[in-house]
Every structure is written in C-alpha cells, then in structure tokens.
C-alpha cells in the first residue's frame, strides 16, 4: 500500500514538473522545473532500491548539471523569449502526432516485452540493503566493465580539454562585451 502510494505521488509530481519544463515560456523556469524533475527521479530511484544511483542522481544531475544550466541561462539573462515555441500549425500537428505515435509504440513495446519476461512480485522482493548493492556495483565496475571505466576517465579528460578550447575560441572572455 505504502509502496504504490509513494510511486503514484512521486510519478505525478515528476510528470507535472517535466510538463512544466515543456510549457514554461521562461527558460529559467524550464530549468528549475527540470531540476525538480531530477530530484523526483532521485526519489524514485531510491524507491527502487538503487540507493547509490539515487545519490549520484542528486549530486550529478540536480546538484551539478542543472546548476550549470541555470547558471548559463542567468549569464544570458534572457528576460522574455521572443518565440518560445516553433511556428506552423501543420508542422506542430505533425510533431504532436509523431510524439503520440512514439508514445504508443513505447507503451506497446513495454506491454509486449513484460508479458514475455513474466516477472513476478516475489522475485522483485528479494533485495538486501545498500551495502550489498554498493559492493556488487563496485565489483562489476572494476572487473567486467573495467575498460569502460578507464575509457570514461579519458572521455572526461577530452571533454575538459575541448570545453576550454571551445570557450576560448571566439568573442573574448565575457559573455557580453
């Protein structure tokens, strides 16, 4: 009971916040709504017993990436957007239909695949605290996915170099000059 109630509360909040991100005309509000969505998703991850992932979601997405988005929007300091949404009734209609069709496809695929997988509630109930999860995660990360782990380190280094190069490229050291 408590389980399903929590899911419904959190998922309603998440959908509302993400919808707010879609419709808010001011991009700063969009970013703040998305930050709230990220916090809600962290809660959902916690609910799914992915404790460490929930914490990382809070630190990386809500605490770092979205702060970066908000900061950049404040650097631009756009008071009101000129045209927040794309024009054209026909194009808009087509886009909506496309999104609807995609949604239908995803739902259909989900229904189909879970019927095939036949996962029962009993199977899901066997979980055991954060410590076991953490150690399993670490073991996998440092043995099976060792190469991916080291390559990600290199990727982050390359991104750091690239970002510095891009931001130096043109237009001086200030956003407005």
């Amino acid at each position: 009971m408590e389980n399903s109630l929590l899911f419904y509360v959190l998922s309603t909040l998440i959908v509302l916040f993400s919808f707010g991100m879609l419709v808010a005309a001011n991009p700063v509000f969009s970013a703040l709504f998305l930050a709230l969505t990220m916090v809600g998703l962290a809660g959902l991850f916690f609910h799914l017993e992915a404790y460490f992932i929930a914490g990382v979601q809070l630190i990386v997405y809500a605490g770092a990436v979205m702060v970066l988005f908000v900061m950049v929007l404040m650097l631009f300091d756009l008071k009101k957007e000129i045209a927040p949404f794309s024009r054209g009734t026909l194009a808009g209609f087509v886009k909506l239909v496309c999104a609807g069709a995609l949604f239908g496809l995803i739902i259909g695929a989900a229904k189909h695949s879970t019927e095939m997988m036949m996962i029962t509630p009993e199977q899901a109930a066997s979980q055991s605290g954060y410590a076991v999860e953490m150690k399993a995660l670490a073991t996998l990360l440092f043995t099976k996915y060792l190469l991916a782990f080291e390559v990600l380190g290199v990727l982050l280094l390359l991104i750091a170099v690239g970002v510095v190069a891009v931001s130096r490229a043109k237009g001086g050291t200030h956003v407005r000059s």
Binding site: S4, I14, V15, S18, F19, M21, L22, P27, S30, A31, L34, T37, M38, L41, F45, L48, A50, V60, Y61, V65, L68, F69, V72, L73, E81, I82, A83, P84, F85, S86, A99, G100, L102, F103, I106, I107, A110, K111, T114, I119, P121, Q123, A124, A136, L137, L140, L141, Y145, A148, L152, L155, L156, I159, V163, V166, S167, A169, K170, G171, V175
Partner: protein, 108 residues
C-alpha cells in the same frame, strides 16, 4: 477489470509507462521549443527516462547491471551537457541569442 487490480500493485509496467511519458515529453521539448538550451534540457530528460527504465528493469529482475549502465549514461550525459552548453555560449557570443532561428541566418 483493468483499473483497480492493475493500479494496486505497482509493477514494472507502471515504471515503463512513466518512463515512456517522460521520454515523450522530452522529445516534445526537443521538437517544439526553439531555445537551444531548452532543447538540450529535453535531451537530458529523455536520457533520464531511459535511466528510469534501466533502474526499473534492474530492480524487477534483481540484476545489478542495469544500475551500472545508469552510472555510465549519467557520465556521458553530463559530458554531453558540458559540450552542448559550451557550444551554446559560443553561439550566444556570436549571435546574441540562443533561439534556433539563428540557424536561418547561417550561410555556407
């Protein structure tokens, strides 16, 4: 017959539907919005929707691999956001706006 029994026990399907809704909203943001940064946020939301389904699958099949994938996706998404925003700032310095109307002015 559909409604109550299905709603009472929250299973994998519910999470997948939520993930689908979030993915669609993210895609709509990419399609409909004209601000480059909001489009990037839409991409982030789509990645998060996928993360949610990974974690849900991982939970309901008692397999830790899904969580590890989420870890990797988060890393790559953060890197993507960093590069995307660096490009957006560079565009802003040149064109004084981040609305994708500016691409109409590009000539090759």
């Amino acid at each position: 017959m559909f409604a109550l029994e299905g709603l009472k026990y929250v299973g994998l399907n519910h999470y997948l539907v939520l993930s689908g809704i979030l993915f669609t909203i993210g895609m709509l943001a990419v399609l409909l919005r004209r601000n480059l940064i909001v489009i990037l946020m839409g991409v982030e939301l789509m990645l998060n929707a996928v993360n949610l389904s990974f974690v849900a699958f991982s939970h309901f099949s008692a397999n830790i691999n899904g969580q590890l994938m989420v870890f990797f996706v988060m890393t790559v998404a953060a890197a993507e956001a960093g590069v995307g925003l660096a490009l957006a700032v560079t565009l802003f310095k040149t064109f004084r706006e981040v609305n994708i109307r500016l691409f109409e002015q590009l000539k090759g």
